[in-house]
């Protein structure tokens, strides 16, 4: 199956002299949920920024649905939805107006937009807040709005950075249920998170980053194997991978 996202030999950072990412390789296929894990400063957010096109690779290539950003910006950008770590909303717009803006930006069919926005407002318990300005929402509610916007456009790829920050237990459950649903319908998900127990339960594969390098990747069994302990939980394997060596161990 053709991958939705392919990151090939990515080396990148803010300055060519001091790259932050070193030769990152991975791909994500349709119907896969992949967890991106690493300590603070491991390079997860920088990797995501490169995929979004907010940073240019120094070396390597990133393809979404077989195209790079330079080849076909429209197709590239319309193929993913992004939920940032901190909610980024427009203060002067209400919850419903954000959904409308996203619907317009991603060219969601008007009838479909009406139906989906209603469903999402209900699903995330935000119907009562539809006319509230984003500035008046709590952090968790803002995060819900970001997630609802991402889900509205039903793209083939979801890039989600720390989605559980500030969410209440109901919000986390709704999000995970919806993510499983979109995954089953064939979408690919790249999710960065520090909550390893949830990542272990829901993700099919894992990307473990440390000091800008990919120190392990694959299924839980493969990551366990790469950590040197076949019986470890993801958390134990992760701990061994990021503290056992200096992070420069060869990736198998």
């Amino acid at each position: 199956m053709e991958p939705v996202l392919r990151v090939d030999g990515l080396t990148g950072g803010y300055s060519p002299r001091r790259p932050v990412l070193h030769n990152i390789n991975f791909d994500i296929k349709p119907g896969e949920m992949v967890g991106l894990i690493g300590l603070n400063g491991a390079g997860k957010s920088t990797t995501i920024k490169h995929i979004l096109g907010l940073m240019k690779p120094l070396k390597g290539e990133i393809q979404i649905r077989g195209t790079t950003l330079e080849q076909d910006p429209q197709r590239y950008r319309s193929s993913f939805a992004y939920v940032p770590e901190s909610p980024v909303l427009f203060d002067e717009m209400t919850v419903q107006e954000h959904l409308r803006l996203t619907g317009m930006a991603y060219d969601v069919d008007p009838g479909h937009y009406e139906q989906r926005s209603e469903m999402l407002l209900k699903e995330f318990h935000m119907a009562a807040k539809r006319t509230a300005f984003s500035g008046h929402l709590s952090k968790g509610m803002k995060q819900k709005v970001m997630i609802m916007n991402a889900l509205l456009s039903e793209p083939p790829l979801y890039i989600i950075d720390e989605p559980f920050l500030g969410l209440d237990p109901l919000g986390i459950r709704s999000l995970l249920e919806r993510l499983v649903e979109v995954k089953n319908s064939g979408a690919a998900i790249l999710m960065s998170s520090h909550i390893l127990a949830t990542v272990e339960t829901y993700c099919d594969r894992f990307l473990v980053m440390h000091r800008g390098k990919m120190v392990a990747q694959g299924s839980l069994e493969q990551v366990r194997e790469q950590s040197g302990d076949r019986n470890a939980s993801l958390e134990e394997a992760f701990y061994r991978l990021v503290t056992g060596g200096d992070g420069d161990a060869p990736v198998t």
């Binding site: 979004l52 096109g53 907010l54 910006p73 429209q74 197709r75 590239y76 950008r77 319309s78 992004y82 940032p84 980024v88 427009f90 203060d91 002067e92 717009m93 107006e97 409308r100 803006l101 619907g103 317009m104 930006a105 991603y106 060219d107 008007p110 937009y113 300005f133 500035g135």
Partner: protein, 413 residues
């Protein structure tokens, strides 16, 4: 040893002055002072002519209420407070009266000077138009007392804990002050004084009712943030400024316009910019400027200054000010991540912003032109014709290219 709060106040004021100096230099270089001077000269010319040929039916009471009420009621307070003060200054709340005293001095002195200037401009009109005017000194003393009472009441208002009650009391204070100004203008002084006493008692009683904070930290911090935003928004019309979070108002009487935009891919940025324009302080400023412009133009039309060309000139000047203000839309969402993420062609961003600016200016120019139509009834045809012709030619043919060029130049920089 702990720093005195008065010293801290002075330090903060000095820091703010230092912070804005580069922007003031930019404004100075932009030729804005020259434009302001021109505006003052035109205004004085118009004022002189109005005084010379004051119509017998000149609505001096209405004009008095419109210009004197805000001068008496408006009581801003620069405190330089910021959110971190809740953690660092709150423990010293008992010392805050000295700090706020410095703020009052900072605001009240220019406030009284402003009132003096407006009174100096209004009194000659009042003395010519009123049948039995009070002595100017008595009138001035009354206005000074009224402003002082309003300043005191505005502090009590800030202390009210519930925002709804605070807004209600403020509306009441403004309305009652307007009534009192009207009373001062039309009834004998002793009656106006009795009325004033009665109103003061009402306000005093009402302000005692709601729950109050001893020191309104949050209110003052929000007020300070709003003042800073206003400064930066003004600077933003001339130069690049750091983006401060926008203050937002619902404005349902305007926001429906965005809802009327068709739900299409091509309208995405237009939808965003229309909402930004209507809901941020920029929209409020445009509404106020347009209404003030319409009023001033109407008054000049009534006085038929320079055979209608005075009113036409002022309408063009207002349009220029609105043009400067509306172009501050360029500053909005400049660094928004969504511009790089939305699957939209890059040129749609600038094109949509330009269209929103052009349409806004078009609507404002037509509104400013409306009072000029009254000149037709007086037999002056050319001033309204020339004004609308010039305005439309500029807005439709020159502005689009000019705006796009400036926008792309800024983005390249």
């Amino acid at each position: 040893m702990r720093q005195s709060l008065k010293e801290l106040w002075q330090q903060r004021r000095a820091a703010f002055r230092k912070e804005i100096t580069p922007y003031l230099q930019d404004i100075f270089r932009s030729g804005f002072p020259g434009f302001l001077l021109l505006l003052i000269i035109m205004g004085m010319l118009g004022y002189g002519t109005l005084l010379r040929d004051l119509p017998a039916d000149f609505p001096y009471v209405l004009v008095g209420i419109i210009f004197l009420t805000p001068m008496a009621c408006y009581s801003p307070l620069r405190t330089w407070l910021h959110p971190a003060d809740v953690a660092f200054l709150m423990p010293r709340e008992q010392e805050m009266p000295a700090y706020v005293k410095a703020s009052w001095r900072h605001n009240l002195i220019p406030g009284f000077i402003g009132l003096g200037i407006v009174m100096a401009l209004y009194l000659p009109i009042y003395e010519r138009a009123a049948s039995n005017p009070h002595h100017w000194a008595v009138f001035l003393v009354c206005m000074v007392i009224l402003k002082s009472l309003n300043a005191a009441a505005s502090w009590r208002e800030r202390q009210i804990a519930w925002p709804g009650a605070r807004r209600g009391v403020r509306l009441l204070r403004w309305s009652l002050t307007a009534l009192l100004v009207a009373a001062l203008l039309v009834v004998p002084l002793w009656k106006a004084a009795l009325f004033g006493l009665l109103l003061s008692a009402v306000i005093w009683l009402i302000q005692r009712l709601p729950v109050r904070h001893s020191f309104p930290w949050e209110r003052l911090i929000a007020e300070e943030a709003r003042t800073r935003r206003t400064y930066y928004q003004f600077f933003g019309s001339f130069t690049d400024v750091p983006v401060l979070p926008a203050k937002v108002a619902k404005r349902p009487y305007l926001a429906w316009i965005a809802g009327r935009l068709r739900y299409t891919h091509a309208n995405t940025y237009r939808y965003l910019f229309v909402l930004t324009l209507l809901r941020t302080e920029l929209g409020g400023m445009l509404v106020r400027l347009t209404l003030l412009g319409m009023l001033v133009i109407y008054l000049l039309v009534r006085s038929a200054l320079l055979e209608g060309f005075g009113a036409a000139g002022i309408s063009v000047l207002f349009l220029i000010i609105i043009r400067i203000q509306v172009s501050a839309l360029r500053q909005s969402h400049r660094h928004s991540v969504w511009r790089h993420i939305y699957p939209l062609p890059d040129e749609q961003h600038n094109e949509s912003m330009m269209r929103v600016v052009v349409k806004t200016l078009l609507i404002c120019s037509l509104l400013l032109w409306l009072p000029l139509l009254l000149l037709l009834a007086k037999g002056f045809i050319w001033p309204p014709l020339i004004t609308i012709g010039l305005s439309l030619a500029y807005i439709l043919f020159r502005l689009p290219g000019q705006f796009l060029k400036k926008l792309s130049k800024e983005q390249d920089d």
